[in-house]
């Protein structure tokens, strides 16, 4: 028992937001009389928040480099949406080609902003504030202030489609492929965890006691199971969810397990020391902003697909949602601390709050107020628990 308390205490900060997310979900589940977690609504929640999740992943990297934020992502989303509209609707371009070109344009935007930030060393805050104005302005010019619509189904499917069931449900109403994917993910998870534990044991490193390990495995597998079942009951796995899942996994591995990932954390921890240790910090900073802009382009594409329209007013305040998500998820405003998964949890906290309050009929004015308070409380909790542990 004591070990459980100990482990819990040690990881309190890490799991605090996860626990908060569960508590918030439980609250709305009760308050909405079960509507929140209806299979259809769970699917909706993911689609609604896909853009924040994508942006939060990229924003985490920027914040890691030293508390740098990107204020331009909302405008870049709109800009890319506008280009998408011109490519696909006006020019009747192939959707796949248009998506590729848009990601490329995102990369060019990133190179432009990254150059000023990393090599000229203008504060990111200012460069991206300029970007926010520049790309919003260009979007309005490009669309002549009008909204382009509708898009062909092959494009809107990015955000509205589901991965088709290869097994046709075997006569049930369930989406069997979804369940199958759930099982595979569970097996991979168990395999990796067992392997990691065996390796740590081999080197005589400290491991969690066996029974706790098994409890952990059961909990995670159960969560995967319930989640995929819930999706299977409705229409299956949304395409966008698969995309986001892959992004989160790839960026988690990148930040936690690779050499460039280490550089990100080192630079945010102490740029001078990182530099003198042989890290090209300019390159790290440059990469973070190129990456952010590409992900902003991706978010712009998915958002436009969901809206089924390219609007000059799209993406307003997206940057604030993404930044808030990262800080709620435990990123440090000074850099060097934070995780991709943390940012994702932060985004989900905000998403559930949005969705839950909408179902309850809370006005958007109050929603904004409450989200602001949650951001403040989450960061205050983080700051206070840190000063206590000192």
């Amino acid at each position: 028992m004591e070990t459980i308390i100990n482990i819990f205490r040690k990881n309190l900060r890490q799991y605090a937001m996860l626990i908060a997310l569960v508590v918030i979900m439980a609250f709305f589940q009760i308050a909405t009389k079960g509507v929140l977690l209806l299979p259809m609504n769970v699917s909706n929640l993911i689609l609604q928040n896909s853009y924040v999740l994508i942006l939060a992943v990229g924003m985490t990297l920027c914040i890691l480099t030293g508390g740098n934020i990107d204020l331009s992502v909302g405008s870049v989303c709109a800009f890319i949406g506008g280009i998408m509209g011109i490519f696909v609707i006006n020019m009747k371009m192939n959707v796949g080609l248009a998506v590729l070109l848009c990601l490329l344009i995102g990369g060019i935007i990133g190179i432009w902003q990254g150059f000023w930030i990393a090599y000229v060393r203008i504060p990111a805050f200012i460069v991206t504030l300029a970007g926010m104005l520049i790309f919003r302005g260009l979007t309005i010019t490009m669309l002549k202030g009008l909204t382009l619509s509708p898009f062909p189904e092959s494009f809107t499917n990015i955000s509205a489609g589901y991965i088709p069931d290869l097994f046709n449900g075997f006569g049930t109403k369930l989406n069997i492929l979804t369940l199958f994917i759930g099982v595979i993910v569970s097996i991979i998870y168990i395999y990796l965890e067992v392997k990691k534990r065996a390796e740590r044991k081999k080197y005589d490193f400290e491991v969690t006691p066996g029974y706790l390990f098994i409890i952990q495995l059961i909990l995670v597998v159960a969560a995967i199971g319930v989640f995929t079942y819930w999706l299977a009951v409705y229409k299956g796995i949304p395409i966008i969810l698969a995309l986001i899942g892959i992004l989160i996994l790839a960026y988690s591995i990148f930040t936690m397990k690779t050499v460039p990932g280490r550089y990100l954390y080192a630079m945010g921890g102490n740029e001078k020391a990182a530099k003198l240790s042989g890290i090209n910090t300019n390159k790290v900073l440059f990469f973070s902003y190129v990456n952010m802009a590409v992900l902003a382009a991706l978010a712009g594409i998915t958002f436009t697909a969901r809206l089924n329209a390219a609007s000059p007013q799209a993406g307003v305040n997206f940057e604030l949602d993404a930044i808030a998500a990262c800080f709620i998820g435990g990123a440090s405003a000074y850099g060097g601390i934070g995780t991709v998964v943390g940012g994702v949890i932060g985004a989900l906290v905000m998403g559930v709050l949005n969705n839950g309050m909408s179902i309850l009929g809370v006005g958007s004015d109050m929603q904004m107020t409450i989200k602001g308070l949650v951001l403040l409380i989450a960061v205050a909790f983080d700051v206070l628990s840190k000063s206590k542990s000192k």
Binding site: E199, A266, N270, K272, A273, N280
Partner: protein, 537 residues
């Protein structure tokens, strides 16, 4: 109204104090008595029944290794650790002290000046002197009074600066004087200086010590915490040695008192030799800098390094001596992948081959390592653990299938922890929580892991206690025994003389002397510098 009320209270406490002093003749001798102070931190007894007495009008030095409890004791005294968080009594000026914060202790006339100065860089000297103590009326600052009084105080500390000058525009030595002026403005009776000369050059240190003695003549007592025992011997009347949170001894200074005698108390044994013995096995020239010139990156046309030539052989320790600002750090950093300066010209030859080092990565790949003089701000990532800090520079070696091999990383870090005797419960400890000596061992580990052939160590033992210094020296000796070359830059001449096989003397960006171990002495080094100064003029 409020002001009147306060002053009456002050008078009352003053009378009380007087009464008490009269009541106890013996106590009058001491301005401060700290009795049986015990302070616990989770898991550590930081102070254990410490007794510490300071006489009126004396300079009392508090010495001890890092972690001996000096700072903790002073924090108890100044109210940073409020009454109730420690056991024991503090009697100041005959009154029992119950401080709940620094303001309380300052009201009594106890002022502490920390090692890291607490001045606002973008406020003026005058504003800083009266910060939180503004000369004001009805909530408005009276700038005339501020200016006049600041000028007076500056005269007292013999600082010739306009009170309007910004703090950021004056050097550390002058800033230290501003801190003292600030203390004087608070009617200080007991001045506490924590490592006051750590960041100062010799002239400024000399100045400061003189000032402390002048203040003493005016009846202001002071406590100085210092690692520099020669300075302690110069100014202190009494020396109290702390070790492991306990008072070891209080020594009255007399003619016969030596540094070794004090060190014995600090480390608990007689350090026969402050530098470990080594029989040099010197090989061929390993590394050479030829006609090296560097310009200041900020000031157009200013040459910082002028035509420097130097070399170091395999298995050799070369010292670079010089005053602060002589260009030693700038030389080292410009060589280390051009991490300082612009328009750099000259040649670097390693193992007989000319090499080009355009960035730090190339320098590392060519077997160079540079241990910075400022480990906290430029050597370590304080929010990361020992393991990540050690692996940082050599992380490419840990790559396996594109990922960092974390198990191997843990083994490497564990290995260094044992080999370098890094004292910490685990390699997952944040480096920000380590003592200076252990932090330096982590930085050294990081560079040794890159397997360098030439190590440039800039002030390798700055701010480290005697015991840890000896350990660092042992590590350096081990490195040259393995055939590596070491260049030591140090402002402590005894360190240069004790460790080096050969000494270069630098002044004003030039090499002004090269001395063999047999020729090198404090006098011969200073002579080189003086001579070169004359030549320049």
């Amino acid at each position: 109204m409020f002001g009147l009320h306060m002053s009456r209270l002050d008078k009352l406490s003053y009378m009380q104090a007087e009464y008490k002093v009269k009541g106890d003749e013996e106590m009058a001798e001491f301005i401060l008595e700290m009795r049986n102070i015990t302070k616990l931190f989770p898991g550590v007894r930081a102070l254990d029944n410490v007794n510490f007495k300071v006489r009126k009008g004396e300079v009392h030095a508090l010495v001890g290794e890092n972690g001996a409890g000096k700072s903790t004791l002073m924090n108890v005294l100044s109210g940073i650790y409020p009454h109730g968080t420690y056991a024991g009594d503090i009697i100041f000026d005959g009154q029992e002290c119950i401080f709940s914060n620094i303001k309380d202790s300052e009201k009594m006339g106890i002022v502490i000046i920390h090692q890291e100065l607490a001045l606002e860089p973008y406020l003026s000297i005058g504003e800083n002197i009266f910060l939180r103590n503004e000369r004001s009326k009805y909530g408005f600052i009276n700038w005339n009074t501020t200016h006049i009084q600041a000028t007076e105080l500056l005269k007292k500390v013999r600082l010739k600066e306009d009170p309007h000058t910004l703090i950021s525009e004056i050097g550390v030595g002058k800033q230290q004087l501003v801190e003292i002026a600030k203390a004087l403005s608070k009617d200080v009776k007991l001045l506490i200086l924590d490592e006051p000369t750590a960041a100062l050059n010799e002239d400024d240190s000399e100045n400061l010590l003189k000032l402390i003695l002048e203040l003493k003549a005016e009846g202001i007592s002071s406590i100085i915490i210092s690692h520099k025992l020669n300075e302690v011997l110069k100014v202190a009347d009494t020396i109290t040695v702390l070790r492991d949170g306990a008072t070891i001894e209080t020594i009255q200074k007399d003619e016969d008192l030596t540094e070794d005698r004090i060190i014995k108390g600090m480390v608990g044994r007689q350090l026969v030799d402050r530098f470990p013995k080594r029989t040099p096995k010197i090989g061929n020239i390993n590394f050479e800098i030829k006609n090296w010139n560097v310009y200041d990156p900020a000031i157009e046309g200013k040459k910082v390094i002028k035509n420097v030539n130097l070399n170091v052989k395999k298995g050799e320790i070369v010292g670079i001596a010089g005053l602060m600002g002589s260009g030693r750090t700038e030389l080292a950093m410009s060589v280390f992948g051009k991490s300082y300066g612009k328009n750099i010209s000259g040649e670097i030859v390693k193992d007989g081959k000319k090499i080009e080092l355009h960035n730090i990565k190339q320098a590392i790949n060519n077997g160079l390592a540079y241990v910075t003089e400022d480990r906290k701000s430029a050597g370590l990532i304080l929010i990361q653990d020992i393991k990540n800090n050690i692996s940082l520079s050599g992380i490419q070696k840990l790559k396996k299938n594109m990922l960092v091999d974390e198990n191997q990383e843990i083994r490497v870090a564990e290995d260094f922890r044992k080999k370098m005797n890094i004292k910490s419960p685990s390699i997952l400890q944040k480096t920000g929580n380590l003592s200076g000596g252990n932090q330096q061992k982590v930085v050294l580990s990081k560079w040794i892991y890159t397997e360098p052939d030439v190590l440039i160590l800039d002030e390798p033992t700055r701010g480290i206690d005697v015991g840890a210094k000896y350990e660092i020296y042992t590590i350096i000796n081990r490195l040259v025994d393995e055939g590596k070359s070491v260049i030591i830059i140090s402002s402590e001449l005894p360190e240069i003389l004790g460790m080096s096989d050969r000494v270069y003397v630098m002044n004003e960006g030039r090499i002004v002397g090269e001395l063999d171990k047999s020729q090198a002495s404090q006098e011969s080094i200073m002579k080189c510098i003086m001579q070169s100064n004359r030549e320049v003029v």
